[in-house]
Amino acid sequence: MKNNDNNLLRIADREFTNRFFLGTGKFRSKKDLAAAIEASGTQIVTVALRRIDLDQHEDNILEYIPKGVTLMVNTSGARSADEAIRLARLAKAAGYNPWIKIEVINDSKYLLPDNAETIKATEVLVQEGFVVLPYVSPDLYVARALVKAGAAAVMPLGSLIGSNQGLKTREFIKILIDEIELPIVVDAGIGAPSQAAEAMELGADAVLVNTAVAAAQNPSLLAKAFAQAVAAGRNAFLSGLPSVRPLASASSPLTGFLFDNPVPKER
């Protein structure tokens, strides 16, 4: 069992009590973002390096992220391993902590991650001392390659970024949860707290949400609801939730005959 024996989430050398991660893009205002961080109590936020203006401090997104919250720069915009690596190095040179979410996307229509390039970038950046959390399509072989490369967690997508479709990849994420000895953080596509709870009930270690919160009428209230749903889902998982069956079923339709009254003999 990985982190299941208590309620602390461990990633690399850090421990977290809150399993709800927040992305910081697309908010109406930085004030909304700050309120969402506070209301949810999130301890890990991710910021796109491409949205950080290094020579402008007024209204800079970083001013709105409280100290004590782990800032994870992401490589949004990178289309190849090389671009992701370049962005990660820029972040490091600018003095950010070495936690990096690798995002390599070379499809502007579906925004699906390029798993092969993501593995390459992970290999290089781990060697350079980064704590790497790669964002991928859930695939067992890819996850194993990431473990081998030294990733600190695996972040499989629930469904397409921004789609709010929830856990379309449920069965594949479950395989990662069962087989991969790293924290599994479900990222992308989670549009409602019920979907976040579902991921946690399944055994995910954390959930990252951005679009749904950022686009909500009341982002801070929804961020809080997500954090509560994540905590509830986690407790449900720890409780040994009885597994759910898709349909009501007769108790023993195939083997019941063995215990029924004897069939009347033929005359």
Partner: protein
């Protein structure tokens, strides 16, 4: 497609329009959230060897021709940088002789010191030229077909590079091949009578490019010519209602594609369009060569007249008031 679109554009009823707008606004909010990207143009030169009947820089137009020297364009760049602009669009006329690739390369290198996103709107060129510019820091291309109607295209593009319809249409693919990140397509609404045909053809072009070069971030523009007595080349009048429909439908069909809106449109229309479909707007624009810091108040000969003259700070304030987050940096070249 274009007959359907024509029906929608001609439908006078307000109810379906409101429904369309609601859906477009929802899709924009879902995919872009509150983010609206800001950029500004820098006109490097207005020498042009093409004769295009609708353009202020046309080779036969009697305007003062200028080309900025390095010290001058650096001044323009510093001026915009001080205003907070980080995405810039470098423009010239279509003169390979006066503004060769080497000149663009040099100005791009200077721009890379000030800006994180650099796009060009110049003349169409070869893939290898785009590679040179990409290496110099340019990662965006703006190239409008203006009209996809071949006959009309031939009527309005009288001579020069721009006369070659097919070469121009294949230009975005050449830039994508060279590694450009961001490509902007457009039609000049009003240039031909049937706007629906041009918009449909643009959508088709966009689909084609999305399939061939899925990694590129695409955006589209619909600059609009409005009929003025002296401008006989305007063949159609795309009304505000039709214009909004075009923006909204584009948003619904292409949820993640950027939609640009320049200062050619009025402040009022731009403010509303941002909530509906538009995700990239220029701010504090000057469309004359040297217009920011070089010319002062002397005659400017702009490429087109600006209707929205608000400053960058005013645009930022407008966006915040309307519940949008102005985005200055959208990529990092260095």
């Amino acid at each position: 497609m274009s007959s359907h679109l024509r029906q929608i554009l001609d439908d006078p009823r307000p109810e379906p329009l409101e429904e369309l707008a609601q859906e477009a606004a929802r899709v924009t909010r879902q995919y872009f959230g509150g983010a609206v990207t800001l950029y500004a143009p820098i006109y490097l030169a207005n020498f042009c060897s093409s004769r295009c009947v609708y353009c202020g820089f046309s080779s036969q137009a009697k305007i003062h021709r200028r080309k900025l020297e390095p010290a001058q364009y650096r001044g323009e760049m510093a001026y915009l940088h001080d205003l907070g602009i980080r995405n810039v669009l470098l423009l010239t006329g279509e003169s390979l002789r006066v503004t060769p690739v080497a000149y663009l390369e040099e100005s791009a290198r200077a721009a890379a010191e000030h800006f994180q996103g650099i796009a060009i709107e110049v003349y169409p060129m070869e893939t290898d030229d785009y590679r040179r510019l990409f290496a110099a820091g340019v990662d965006g291309l703006t190239i409008y077909q203006e009209t996809y109607d071949r006959a009309r295209y031939a009527e309005v593009h009288l001579s020069g590079f721009k006369k070659d319809y097919d070469y121009r249409r294949a230009t975005p693919a050449r830039a994508a091949e060279a590694g450009f990140r961001q490509i902007s397509l457009g039609v000049l609404l009003g240039l031909q009578a049937d706007a629906a045909a041009d918009v449909s053809a643009l959508w088709e072009h966009l689909r084609e490019l999305e399939r061939a070069y899925p990694g590129v971030e695409y955006s589209v523009s619909f600059p609009r010519l409005r009929p003025i007595k002296t401008q006989e080349f305007v063949h159609g009048d795309v009304t505000d209602v039709q214009f909004i429909k075009i923006l909204c439908l584009t948003r619904i069909f292409f949820p993640r594609v950027g939609i640009n809106l320049s200062t050619r449109e009025s402040a009022q229309l731009r403010d509303h369009a941002v909530g509906l479909a538009v995700t990239r707007i220029s701010a504090g624009s000057n469309t004359a060569v040297g217009g920011y810091s070089v010319l002062g108040d002397e005659a400017q000969d702009p490429q087109f007249d600006i209707k929205d003259e608000r400053s960058v700070a005013q645009i930022v304030q407008m966006l915040k008031t309307r519940g949008f987050d102005p985005v200055f940096t959208d990529w990092r070249n260095r």
